[in-house]
Amino acid sequence: MAAAETHRAIEAVFRIERARLIAGLARMVRDVDRAEELAQDALIIALAEWPKTGVPNNPGAWLMAAAKRRAIDGIRRDRMRERKHEEIARDLDDERDASVETLEATMDDDIGDELLGLIFTACHPVISAEARAALTLRLIGGLTTDEIARAFLSAEPTIAQRIVRAKKTIGNAALAFEVPRERERAGRLASVLEVIYLIFNEGYAATAGEDLIRPSLCAEAQRLGRILAGLMPDESEVFGLLALMEIQASRLPARTGPDGALVSLTEQNRARWDQLLIRRGLTALARAEALGGANGPYALQAALAACHARARKADETDWARIAALYDRLREVMPSPVVDLNRAVAYSMAFGPEAGLKLVDELAEATALRNYAPLPAAKGDFLFRAGRLPEARTQFEAAAGLTRNARERAFLLARAAACSR
């Protein structure tokens, strides 16, 4: 094998092991930054050794042993600095053995648990949501700071600083790198799921022609979701979120037209929807429901997405079911945006008057005061009810609120259509 090829093969092995390596090391040295360095050191040692010896049978264990030796050397060096050399010469061997034993004891835990512990630590609520996302992509996804910066349309120093600060916060708070138990668990899991969905949505918001790293965030988030589902097979909301992401991602090939413009759900060519992802999403949703989580916020959103995924044509959509799901969603996740979507579903299921009734109740909500989709939806209901002059006013109001040029043109066209 050519040297470059060997190099790539070793790096591929390292990529597979990296997150688990960092997870084990972080728990051991209680320092994410140091854990990352040690993992990197292990890669450098592997790049020097493996071309001669071949890739070992258990590369994960080999890398961990190499990193551990480095960690122990580091501890020894620190001790050297702290003490006089004569004392050390006497004690060193005993102490070293004791350190090694302690280290090995920490290493014997279940590896899956350690990775999960790292995920929960990187997503700890003491860290801001953006920093959690950056840290998770760095530690678990293995993205470089530059890749993360490009993905979030930020400057590299901003992201680097965000990661440094997050690591410091973890150190200062003396977080345990463990999966929280019982009481704390639900809240902490919500924080993990929030980060994964944030990463997904960042990728979903990317438009055609942008740096490819952005849409790839969807794949990163799906992978994180799949990893989490593999590690926490009994958590219904993990499967709810996974189902939601798989089904939404199934539409990625259909949601932009040849000119790069977004294509609305009803207009999409459904033949382009990725059936494998839909099937995976439906399976994950069924699992979430079987685990008793049918009313979880993610499971409900996944169920909504599934209604669209199941409809072969837009006009076969089961709007009554969608309306019923929104009734349940607003109970567990109250938000004016959910209410607006609910009004749209009602208008589709039961006619424009049903939608108008709900949207009028909503008009009082301050959160939606400058929200273009509200008058746009209302305009659509009025239009369908034959109340054209009123519809026109709403479309014009919506056009005045949106910042998206394409959307504005669309709304103005709808306003003009009211005069015919």
Binding site: A9, Q222, L231, Q275, R310
Partner: protein, 142 residues
């Protein structure tokens, strides 16, 4: 990217006899599958019955000839498959290398990247896509 990973058949797998001699391999394979799931790359997979249970349909112009298994070229036959989502071929190769030997004797695993919709470009007209989608729907009974 998605890859299809084929486990090639051997004379042993083609007998279709599963016995105590396979227990160890099955256990190792079970653990490996679990690892694939925990790594978030596994999209699906299954083992295939021997080719004696299979059939082929040969095409030549308008004629269709059904050929019953078993088929001769054992090493070219597929005994099982996985569908994975990986970052690149290097990652796929690294994962395959850590697979326990799927057969009792020497064996082979083949990795093939899938075409993505984008690869077809202009060759796939909206009409053709529509039909592809419909066929898939029917296959999946939806």
């Amino acid at each position: 990217m998605r890859v299809m990973v084929f486990v090639k058949a051997t004379e042993d797998s083609e007998t279709g006899v599963i016995g105590a001699q396979h227990a160890e391999m099955f256990e190792a394979m079970g653990k490996y599958n679990e690892e694939l799931v925990k790594a978030g790359i596994m999209l699906g997979g299954d083992g295939l019955r021997p080719s004696k249970d299979g059939k082929r349909v040969a095409f030549d112009g308008p004629t269709r000839t059904v050929i019953d298994g078993p088929f001769a070229e054992t090493r070219e036959l597929v005994a099982g498959y996985w569908l994975w989502e990986v970052k690149d071929m290097d990652e796929a190769v690294a994962w395959v290398k850590r697979c326990p030997n799927p057969m009792l004797g020497p064996s082979e695993i083949e990795i093939r990247p899938l075409y993505e919709v984008e690869d077809f470009g202009e060759a796939l007209t909206p009409e053709a896509e529509e039909i592809h989608g419909r066929v898939r729907d029917q296959l999946e009974g939806r």
